[in-house]
């Protein structure tokens, strides 16, 4: 009987050809992880090409999930178990396997032809090059095909069940119940009983193989994490943004309008929202990025919550309309799911290099609030907050997410609608000027202007991109008026700082001299690195920014109270640049632009070096 060993944390990666169903396999395995109650984080990685040539390194698609009996922040760097469905998957993923890690390979795919195609001159399963790992070479394809023989599938369909065979085996290896996947298959293939039965047979065969073959010395078990009690669901960043947009509209009691043009990695937000038609959500797939924001602005003008989602190149195209939105002072939520740029760059890889574009990418003095999500779950809260700021301050708001958050998933405590912030539209319904006139640019205490939506009798008025006279909104080329209006628009955005929470420094000892500042998705790796440094007994403080414009009011004071400030970012130092300019602190940039999240191992080592230097 195989032993069951309890472990705190495991990272598993499923890798195969992009047609091998690795994303589905990973999703399914993650769903079972959730049922156990472990904390988890996932990282899908797939090629930009839809179907790169089969069996090539370029065509490898993978899905990584890390799960633990404690609260984890990232999908992990090194994996403990690698499932490789072909030689290309083994070759391109081996570097990420922890020393002594477990490899399960589909030996049926390790033919001379497939080996040669990816540059292996000998078979790594047989030539001893994998001797430092625990290798299980199994003919997954052959076993799956044999298991599904009774169902009369053609050879191709039969061999496609190999992912379920592998999943069955890994399900057994991690002491999981097979029930979840069996239910899933029954639902997924409800209308195709022969495929359902074949996939169930392949899955069961894999599971039973683990149970009976005694090839594995131990099975692993990762217990539940001590998460706060409540009802949980799995969520990716893009799905959380979609939900956040709906929630923002519901809280504001406005219809939701999304204008969008397909772009990786933001398109899933459009896809998700387009399934919410019974929630009153209107999605409009436009002719281009400019029409996407233009239509959203038109919808906002007409009394909806206008929103648009895009990635870096699309944000660049939207900039002129963002300038108009600043001038019109209309609510608008613009989500930028950042990817590696410039230009097409690496569309399926992550980056944080749109920060300066979001902050400063417009013509003229055009301040816009900028928020950034720190995790897939936070994509929800940050989007709701963006909607609140947009509506209550009459301003476009940019939300920054990125490819790492967009596709990565983690458990989310299901938010209660009752706990969501109220959003006040306060639409104008009565004249506010002398003699029953309407002054569309008469500001309230926080600098927001009255909004009268078309259809409101007596408040007919004109707005436009031309500079407006204070209060009346009439065309004005008066120099002093322009100076005044520029400052009014700036003051309105700056004033938001009074209504966002102060940042809290994570410094358990309270004695750290080194401060690490992060923003956006770097929260996971940076907080992980800080934790790792502290485990060695050393002291490091961490502050994470979700508000990039305006910054939290207490940020300057915090920055100035540390001897050294390091800013890790997936760009060439954009936040560091802004912090230096704004607060005159010697913030040091720690820049990594590889299209991948910052490495916890590398960063924690470098932070230790910085501490050595500081304390020397």
């Amino acid at each position: 009987m195989t032993q069951v060993q309890k472990v705190e944390r495991v990272a598993v990666r499923f890798a195969g050809d992009s047609g091998d169903g690795m994303q589905l396999t990973g999703d399914r395995f993650t769903a079972d992880t959730a049922v156990v109650g472990s904390d988890f984080a996932t990282l899908p990685n797939y090629p930009a090409e839809i179907r790169a040539p089969a069996g090539t390194l370029n065509g490898v698609s993978s899905f990584q999930v890390q799960f633990a009996d404690y609260d984890i922040r990232t999908p992990g760097e090194l994996v403990d178990v690698l499932v490789a469905m072909n030689p290309a998957a083994l070759k391109s993923n081996l570097k990420d396997l922890a020393p002594g890690g477990t490899i399960i390979v589909d030996s049926g795919d390790f033919t001379n032809r497939n080996l040669t195609r990816v540059g292996y001159t000998s078979n790594p399963i047989e030539d001893g090059s994998l001797s430092s790992y625990a290798v299980h070479a199994l003919d997954l394809t052959g076993a799956a095909v044999a298991a599904v023989t009774p169902f009369g599938l053609n050879r191709k369909d039969a061999s496609r069940t190999k992912n379920m065979y592998a999943l069955g085996l890994v399900t057994w290896l991690f002491s999981r119940s097979p029930e979840g996947t069996l239910e899933f298959l029954a639902t997924k293939f409800a209308k195709k009983p022969h495929l359902r039965d074949a996939n169930v047979a392949a899955f069961n065969a894999g599971y039973n193989f683990g149970e009976t073959a005694e090839l594995f010395a131990v099975r692993y078990e990762v217990g539940p994490a001590p998460l706060p009690p409540g009802t949980y669901r799995q969520i990716s960043g893009n799905k959380a943004i979609a939900l956040g947009l709906v929630a923002g509209a519901v809280q504001a009691k406005l219809p939701l309008f999304l204008g969008a043009y397909p772009i990786t990695p933001a398109s899933d937000v459009l896809h998700e929202l387009s399934t919410f038609k019974n929630q009153g959500v209107i999605t409009f797939q436009c002719e281009d990025e400019i029409a996407a924001i233009g239509s959203a602005l038109g919808a906002s003008y007409a009394g909806s919550l206008g929103t648009t989602v895009t990635s870096g190149p699309g944000l660049a195209l939207k900039m002129e309309t963002l300038g108009l939105a600043v001038m019109l002072e209309l609510p608008l939520v613009v989500v930028d799911v950042q990817r590696a740029g410039p230009s097409t760059g690496m569309p399926t890889k992550t980056e944080q290099a749109d920060l300066l574009q979001a902050l400063y990418g417009r013509h003229g003095e055009a301040p816009i609030p900028v928020l950034a999500a720190q995790s897939p779950t936070d994509c929800f809260a940050i989007t709701v907050e963006a909607a609140k700021i947009a509506v209550e301050y009459r301003t476009p708001v940019i939300v920054l997410s990125d490819g790492y958050l967009a596709n990565g998933a983690e458990p989310m405590l299901v938010p209660s609608v009752e706990d969501l912030p109220a959003i006040e539209t306060n639409f104008a319904t009565e004249p506010n000027g002398p003699d029953g006139t309407f002054l569309p640019y008469l500001r309230d205490a926080k600098g927001a202007r009255p909004l009268a939506v078309p259809g409101t009798p007596g408040l007919e008025h004109r707005i436009g991109g031309i500079e407006k006279a204070d209060r009346t909104g009439n065309i004005s080329y008066d120099p002093a008026n322009h100076d005044w209006m520029v400052r009014q628009r700036q003051a309105k955005i700056d004033g938001i700082a009074a209504h966002i929470p102060d940042v809290v420094v994570d410094d358990p000892s309270g004695e750290a001299r080194l401060l690490v500042v992060s923003w956006g998705s770097s929260f996971g790796p940076v907080s992980g690195a800080a934790r790792r440094v502290r485990r060695t007994g050393r002291k490091v403080a961490h502050v994470h920014l979700r508000h990039l414009n305006p910054f939290p009011a207490n940020l300057g004071e915090i920055l100035k109270s540390y001897d050294k400030v390091i800013v890790p970012e997936m760009n060439l130092g954009q936040l560091a640049f802004v912090l230096r300019a704004k607060y005159l602190v010697d913030a040091e940039s720690y820049a990594r632009v590889r299209g991948l999240p910052i490495s916890i191992t590398e960063l924690s080592g470098d932070l230790m070096d910085a501490l050595d230097h500081l304390e020397a």
Binding site: A31, A34, V35, G37, P224, L227, P228, P229, G230, T231, Y232, R233, L243, V246, A247, V250, K253, P255, K277, N278, Q279, G280, I282, F284, C286, E287, D288, I290, A291, G294, S295, L297, G298, A299, S300, Y301, A302, G303, S304, G306, T321, G323, L324, L328, V414, S416, V417, P454, G455, P457, G458, L459, E460, H461, R462, I463, G464, G465, I466, I475
Partner: protein, 341 residues
Amino acid sequence: MTTTTGLGRVPLSLTPLNRKDYTSDQEVRWCPGCGDFAILAAFQGLMPTLGIKRENTVIVSGIGCSSRFPYYMDVYGMHSIHGRAPAIATGVAIAREDLNVWVVSGDGDALSIGGNHLIHALRRNVNITIMLFNNRIYGLTKGQYSPTSEAGKVTKSTPTGSIDTPFNPLSVALGAEASFVARTVDSDRQHLSEVLTAAVAHRGASLVEIYQNCPIFNDGAFDEVKGAEPGVIPLVHGQPIVFGDKCVVRDADGDLRVADLAEVGVEAAIVHDAHRPDPSLAFALSRLTDQGKIRQAPIGIFRDVDRPAYDDLVRSQVSVPDDRAAALQALLTGPETWTVA
């Protein structure tokens, strides 16, 4: 889906309105003699006749001389950015079926920088009415050639003559699947009002090209197709296309041609049919417009056919739950959950 008119879902005014109700307090700042004045006057006269509530009209414009139009109308108006008015108006129209949505644009705004938005608004058949003021020149930037300027035109940016082939705006619109396409001229107030009335009554996207004189940079560009001039080819649905001593006939090869009545006889003149589902007649008629200096051009409604409006179709797929908070909670909870005790 029930077909209704373009204004079928816009609330009616309880009290009669007049042109003064529609006139804003802003000083009109076009050049003396500009054709835009005549169009504005006709429009201000037309609006009260529609019988709808004043607050339910929205005019969106882009950039250019024509795009100052919204400031002079006392309705809801947005002077937006260059070329983007059809996209913004599309958002307005999708969001609100109870609004009478207009786009005011020019030849540069609609056909150059905003060409993409124009063709897609027409193809989708969004319920908006687009007035395209065509003066065949860039006026606001002080006199460069536009996408409708004739080849060879000498302007500030083409001192040796333009080498661009011009767009025929109506051919473009018809090629983009437009369901309502018409042309009128700034100086013929009655015709202008009739065409705009038909355009706004059409449910779906209506494109009305208005030949508009720019007295500063392109004066007299349309003199030969104004009023009773012999260059006007009048298009009246159900009527033979006859003008002066000429008519439009179809040749054996299918092409349309202007012929002498005396030569072919009135029975040879083709009868205009604006409601033909197939756009080829309207397209062929649009090609009778001179490409160079305009000496002859058809004026009237080229095409007016029923086709579902995009915004109506969008709304037909969407439903708002009775209890939005409860529906949101179900959405947030999602299909698969687990409990941590």
